[in-house]
Amino acid sequence: MPLPPASGTGRYFAKAAKSIRLLRHGCTNRPFFHISVTQRRRPNSLPVIEQLGSYDPMPNMDNEKLVALNLERIKYWLGHGAHVTPPVAELLGLAGFFPIHPRSYMTAWRNRATERENLAKEAEKAAEDKDA
């Protein structure tokens, strides 16, 4: 294994702040995220303290997005006061582990609004076409 493993080789400072965040792996045009716990004030290119899960934002054949969560370790790090970034908090909220993140509601509301607008526009267009 020439590259360091995704989990568990980062330097650990007991008193420094930790954060649970998404780290982009994958390649160009193909995002893939690791959910990892890292030192909060460290660049993302360094090895992480521990990998806690993964998130694949591209829907698969059955139109599903797969999320893996090591809930046992997430609980442990939350107990140690790790900060959770909003994208991770959103995922945990959707999983039913956290309360739903407000941003999720906002996104849903905005999506519904644009959908409604689009529908209204289409209806107008259809009406115009009919009149013409």
């Binding site: 139109n63 599903e64 849903a108 509301w109 999506n111």
Partner: protein
């Protein structure tokens, strides 16, 4: 199971009314087999009861030469140099005990259980999340040391409902995050394509099909029970029971046939090959599963007596007086079964008559031998 019998006689293209009252078109080229599954009463308590397990193990007739044969699908990718040891009598005995244990492991039967119920468990409903995403979110708890069946796998649907996943999704995600060697995420062609499955069955690769099914499916999956039931029925119609003897699949086969009360051709084969004691064991299995035999108590008592004798892998040359007594009892017991419960009365009766004559000769021969040796 009269339905099955009816199917066996069919050779033309037929339309058959199935028990789910749906119409299934069956071509005459393939064997007309209707797959069946354990979807009524739960067979597990009976299958796992110690009496029936012992009977099934004995009916497997384990021949160690076949149990420990060289397998092409074993874990050893290539042959190794044999190892040698100098052993005393006691050490040899210990090694043989170990071998018996590994034989038990190799012959461990795939469980026979009821088909699982669909999971329909809504955890929360949040209509405010409608429109968040058009895709489903699947969450898998990958905590260390949790068994696959207890793993927490939930889905958030686009309509905002959080629910537990159904079996097929659970299986797929378990395979993605905790892959099992040999199991495929996509269903292999031999199970997806009926043509391929039937071509394998026609070539009598029963063990291969059953082994693959054991790897690919869980025992409580409907697809597993469908594939195995097709295979068992194929074996039953072709009377190829010997291909499964000494393998882990013979017990479930015997149980399947007994459960559906169509073990008469197996009984016929046993009588024909002179395995009269095993025929009695099969009777007591029938009685243990259904309890509908007239001389059930007799067969149970006789079966217990038979279980104390060693497994007969080949026909014995020499008969002792106890053997003769036991075998005569077995013949009487079988006679009663054929008269009262059998659906193949004439064939089994003829086979039993043939065995009786052959056995009489054997008895005379061994008694004569005894006299000649002066041991009588």
């Amino acid at each position: 199971m009269s339905l099955l019998k009816l199917l066996k006689n069919n050779t033309r293209n037929v339309l058959i009314k199935c028990n789910e009252s749906q119409l299934i078109f069956i071509s005459s080229r393939k064997l007309s087999i209707v797959p069946s599954s354990y979807d009524g009463e739960n067979p597990a308590p009976k299958f796992f009861s110690s009496g029936i397990q012992i009977l099934l193990k004995r009916l497997t007739r384990p021949d160690y030469a076949k149990v420990f044969r060289k397998r092409s699908n074993s874990n050893a990718p290539m042959l190794e140099t044999p190892q040698y040891k100098f052993l005393t009598d006691e050490e040899l005995q210990i090694e043989k005990e170990k071998a018996n244990q590994s034989a038990d492991r190799l012959l461990q039967m795939p469980p026979v259980v009821k088909v699982h119920e669909p999971i329909n468990d809504v955890l929360s409903k949040d209509p405010a999340l409608v429109g968040f995403d058009s895709a489903k979110y699947l969450f898998t708890d990958i905590s260390f040391g949790v068994a696959n069946e207890h793993r927490l796998i939930v889905e958030r649907d686009p309509d905002g409902i959080l629910r537990s996943c159904d079996h097929d999704v659970r299986k797929r995600l378990n395979q993605i995050y905790f892959p099992m060697l040999g199991r495929k995420i996509r269903e292999p062609l031999i199970f997806a394509d009926d043509e391929k499955l039937h071509s394998l069955l026609d070539r009598q690769k029963y063990e291969y099909v059953l082994d693959r099914a054991c790897v690919q499916y869980e025992p409580d999956e409907p697809k597993f029970q469908k594939v195995t039931s097709i295979t068992y029925q194929h074996i039953d119609t072709n009377m190829q029971y010997d291909l499964l003897r000494s393998t882990r699949h013979f017990g479930p086969l015997a149980f399947y046939l007994t459960w559906h009360k169509c073990m008469d051709s197996l009984m016929f084969e046993l009588v024909q090959t002179g395995a009269i004691r095993e025929a009695v064991l099969l009777m007591s299995l029938r009685h243990a599963v259904h309890g509908d035999l007239k001389n059930g108590a007799d067969s149970d008592a006789l079966g217990k007596q038979v279980l104390t004798t060693p497994v007969q892998l080949s026909k014995s040359e020499y008969l002792t007086e106890e053997d003769i007594q036991l075998d005569n009892k077995c013949i009487e017991c079988l006679d009663a079964y054929i008269v009262n419960n059998s659906t193949m009365k004439s064939q089994q009766g003829l086979a039993l008559q043939g065995f009786r004559e052959y056995y009489q000769q054997m008895v005379e021969l061994s008694r004569g031998l005894k006299k000649a040796h002066g041991t009588a």
